[in-house]
Symmetry: C2
Subunit: 335 residues, 2 copies
């Protein structure tokens, strides 16, 4: 029946309205990397507020309809819901045709690395326990991100890749059922996915990163653009901690997947200049990010990599990175 | 591909090993009904410990492999994981071929009833916000139950019906993809599902109760028995708060779905004696529970309804309710 639903989507013109943007909330951007399971609340709040702004029709900031009606830890008073006011409202006034995918950061990483879940082998008690522990950690982050989005009035729904049946074969995505994601978008919800521990046909289990999920969703949903929010301004020619590091403003990817730096004109720049890929992101490092971003660009979808909580991230979420003073990296197809 | 996986399951003899038990953790049993989003921690802990005992081979209580490696609120120290010990262990020593489904109790009920999610109509801002709020509340309870099971060494994985693509048509289950549940069981995980807000083909959305989920899973998985853990000893002939209420020990369901009380021999007992169905459970009341239990019994699967945290619940989870001093209600087919 899932297949029927997917076919229905294709013939329904309302449903085939393209997704505007897939956003990656990088683990490094929204969690405190040095501290186990610690959210960077200010960054997360800012990302959610900017997402709301980007979704607002004509940029008008309407009334925020808070959708998290749950108790918050330490708050003795229950939630207050203005039932009458909400039932009289015409609509949310949001173009919510976005998908959010987040990384793990300081959630899940500890559990996964201690147990070696990515290497597979569920017959091992350590791996089986680590699989369960990893999922508990990443789904608790997912829950907090869904709540943060809902508090900003974004109708977000958590969708855990393992539970949705996403699985791999030798670490490559094998089975993906995106029909529920499309159904959710169709009725105006914002699906929120995450890097997860999943079953693997050959290894028993492994880790599926948020970046791989994004590439696959970009292929399925053909969004207008993809935004990676991270903790640095974009892709540099060497580790960004190096004072001589240069921010790469534009990278072109050709049909074979090889890339060239379009901006800036680096001294001694030649085709195939090697980008130093420091592992400064907990979920796979900058290398995975560039590879996945290049694969998305090859589909003809522009990718914007920029720093969370800045004016540049807001502009990227709105799809407007054309002005000279925008700070970040654009990766696009050279075609 | 989901369908392929389901077919594979059918031809794989290891996978077709029948599920031993589907357990319903009733909302009334594991939450404090009077208080918004409050877990009855003692009941939940007891239910998880008894589940572990029921899963233990030969009843031997082996070493508990804690699988919740996440921080707990207010606990400044991180989790300690005995990597060496775990990698040397032979196995969990558990027959984990169980499925857990839980109700909502004091989670979700407030959000759903304030917004009228069960009535549908996602064009309404109130209903859309209520859908998001309801899911946040019920998934946070799911997260806590998965963690409680994992702390008892049960390899539990949360699976949210909405995210898994379960949907209804005029409140009746329409689309169900259980292949991931079967895959998870096959590799030794215990799926943990819950009553959820779901999409409805005609109403836009509604509430899918845990009891309906159980009936459907019983049909798909043919478990040896089904256990409903609740806050009273079983089904009574009138509201259990009535001092004259009599616990019905055995109910027989015939092929047409009509039932008769086999035990005890009630004064003036006649076929079709009316069971008073007080709405003393937040998710649909005892009436839904009896109807769903009767539907399961008609499949030839025995249903045990009993009180959480008692010796009777432990015996029910082990499938042993035959002795005279077992306190609870057995609902079975009269065939």
């Amino acid at each position: 029946m899932a297949e029927e639903a997917a076919q229905e989507q294709q013939t329904d013109p309302a449903a085939s309205r393209p997704v505007r943007c897939i956003v990656k909330l990088g683990g490094a951007a929204i969690t405190n990397k040095g501290e186990l399971e610690s959210i960077d609340a200010a960054s997360l709040r800012s990302a959610c507020a900017q997402l709301r702004q980007a979704m607002s029709h004509g940029g008008a900031a309407g009334k925020v309809v808070g959708m998290d009606w749950s108790r918050r830890p330490g708050d003795p008073t229950g939630p207050v819901v203005d039932v009458e006011g909400l039932s009289e409202m015409g609509g949310l006034g949001l173009d919510s045709n976005f998908v959010v995918v987040h990384g793990a950061g300081s959630f899940g990483h500890f559990q996964a690395s201690r147990s070696g879940v990515h290497k597979g082998g569920l017959h091992s008690t350590l791996v089986k326990a680590g699989f369960v522990a990893t999922r508990i950690s990443v789904t608790s982050l997912n829950q907090e991100i869904v709540r943060a989005l809902a508090r900003e009035g974004i109708p977000s729904v958590g969708m855990s890749p393992f539970a949705c049946g996403w699985s791999t074969k030798q670490r490559n995505l094998e089975s993906v059922d995106a029909s529920q994601i499309m159904q959710s978008l169709h009725v105006g919800f914002v699906p929120v996915l995450h890097g997860d521990a999943v079953l693997d046909e050959l290894l028993d289990c492994t880790i599926l990163s948020g970046d791989v999920i994004i590439r696959h969703l970009a292929q399925l949903l053909s969004p207008k653009y993809v935004v990676f929010l991270t903790d640095v301004h974009g892709v540099y020619d060497r580790p960004p901690s190096d004072p001589n590091a240069v921010l790469l403003r534009e990278i072109a990817v050709d049909e074979n997947g090889s890339w060239s730096i379009v901006k800036p004109a680096l001294k001694g720049n030649k085709k195939g200049v090697e980008i130093s890929v420091a592992a400064h992101d907990t979920t796979g490092g900058m290398e995975t990010k560039i590879l996945e971003a290049a694969a998305i660009a090859r589909l003809g979808v522009d990718v914007y990599i920029t720093k969370v909580g800045t004016e540049h991230s807001l502009r990227a979420l709105k799809g407007d990175t054309s002005s000279e003073d925008w700070l970040g990296t654009v990766i696009r197809s050279s075609r």
